[in-house]
Amino acid sequence: MSTLSLAGVSRWYGNVVAVNDISMTLGAGVTGLLGPNGAGKTTLLHMMAGFLSPSRGTVTLDDEPTWRNPDVYRRLGLVSEREAVQSYLTAYEFVLASAKLHRLADPAAAARRAIDLVELESAQDRRIGTYSKGMRQRARVAAALVHDPQVLLLDEPFNGMDPRQRLHMMQLLHTLGDDGRTILFSSHILEEVEQVSGTVQVMVAGRLAASGDFRTIRRLMTNRPHVFAVRSTDDRALAVALIAEPSVSGVELDRTGLTVRAGDYGAFTRALPRIALNQGIRVRQLVPSDESLESVFSYLVEA
């Protein structure tokens, strides 16, 4: 079993801090790296994979640095987000080339085994240029797995996959994790992470916002107060009536209308029409204003 450790890792570009003081240790099993776009997930993955030097801190695989140390690739595989492949090769040639570059004892057998693992045998002799996005992704996973690495890093592996391919990839990651490998994949989609991994690392704005069991973090995310923007014929009267409602935890009144904070999404949306009707107020607008993933994440940072 291999352990990937990050200790106080930061990375900045000029004045911009992309990754801010992250420490984590990844062991066997599947871990999801969750965060909105631009949170620094790719930068972090690149540092883990030895493609970027940390501005501060250390990234080590079994106590060896990953930066400027090609030897780590004996134990580490990477599937980057950019789906670049030598499209003039067939999948078999592509995976076989990987096996040869790893100097494996029996490259042909290793290539066949890896192609088997991603279930690409039937198409292995076609040029990769003719593949669908999901098939290309699988070919790349096969190439990254050909030397049977203990650690596999995948950057947004589900991007552009159809549901069936997604399911297949999820099963593959599960299998690999259950075998005792250390698997880390990044994603900006909550549901993907939920289905694949029990453990998550949540990144927001370059920092590690939460870390641990997915269900606990998910509960934190769903129990957060919901914010709505409301406009009506009489905002002030509506505010008075709303604050008496148990599901409402706060109301703010300004020139543009009301900002309502509700602890319980369902109870509030059911109560609002009733209250408005009773008060004889007409509601002109009701917009949930914090449903973006970014706001979910930023709530986590504050929590």
Binding site: T42, F51, G77, S80, A84, L89, A97
Partner: protein, 236 residues
């Protein structure tokens, strides 16, 4: 053949960019054949075609296209990651790529230069031009390969070197000739086959030493830069 050599060669010949290589050597060949068949005095067309076109344009431009392509194209499209995620010492990636670049360039340029040299003067001049061009191909390839790791615009910078430094400044500021691969190639060819057609102010010893220094120095630089290769700015 190593896997890197094989993949580099396939990548090179598999891209349309490769077709860019064909016209220049053909023009060189065509002009030499035309001048010879029209009976023009070699003293008149020799320097213009052999040096002005062959050594000053065809050799550096073909080197530039290939030298920046063998690794630069993979950096551009991201496939370089596949090679870099292997437990290979980085010199084992640079040397095969340099060999492919220098080899393909040498063959592409030396053949028409040989024919043009034979038509202009003698087989000896043809062989001298071909041999000197092959050495020049190595030096240029090392330079342009390293350039593709140092900058994001290797082709532009390479063109500036070839056109401005070697082409323009070389004619007006004689000192720049000491740092001009083109002048080394001329000096070496002239030494191997002394004729009145090739002229340079650079001595043969300077040319030999500088060709070796440039080839080795830029190869070492390329290996070191590849060791610290960063994949950056890729977040979508």
């Amino acid at each position: 053949m190593s896997t890197i050599t094989w993949m580099t060669a396939r990548g090179l010949f598999g891209r349309r960019r490769f077709l860019l290589l064909l016209p220049l050597p053909l023009v060189l060949l065509g002009l030499a054949v035309l001048c010879r068949s029209l009976g023009v005095d070699p003293g008149e067309w020799g320097p213009a075609v052999l040096v002005g076109l062959g050594l000053a344009v065809v050799l550096p431009v073909v080197s530039l296209i290939i030298g920046t392509g063998v690794l630069g194209a993979e950096i551009d499209d991201g496939t370089v990651v596949h090679i870099l995620t292997k437990p290979l010492p980085r010199w084992q990636i640079i040397l095969p790529k340099l060999a492919v670049a220098a080899g393909v360039t040498a063959v592409t340029v030396a053949v028409p230069l040989y024919v043009a040299g034979v038509l202009a003067d003698s087989v000896r001049l043809g062989l001298a031009l071909a041999a000197a061009a092959a050495l020049g191909a190595l030096a240029y390839s090392a330079l342009f390969l390293a350039l593709s790791l140092v900058t994001r615009r290797p082709v532009l910078l390479g063109l500036v070197y070839v056109l401005i430094w070697e082409g323009l400044l070389g004619n007006f500021v004689s000192g720049t000739k000491v740092l001009s691969i083109q002048q080394y190639v001329i000096a070496l060819a002239d030494r191997l086959a002394p004729t009145g057609l090739l002229e340079t102010t650079v001595s043969v010893s300077v040319a030999s030493v500088m060709t070796a220094l440039i080839s080795i120095g830029f190869t070492v630089l390329a290996v070191d830069r590849l060791r610290s290769f960063s994949v950056a700015g890729e977040t979508s």
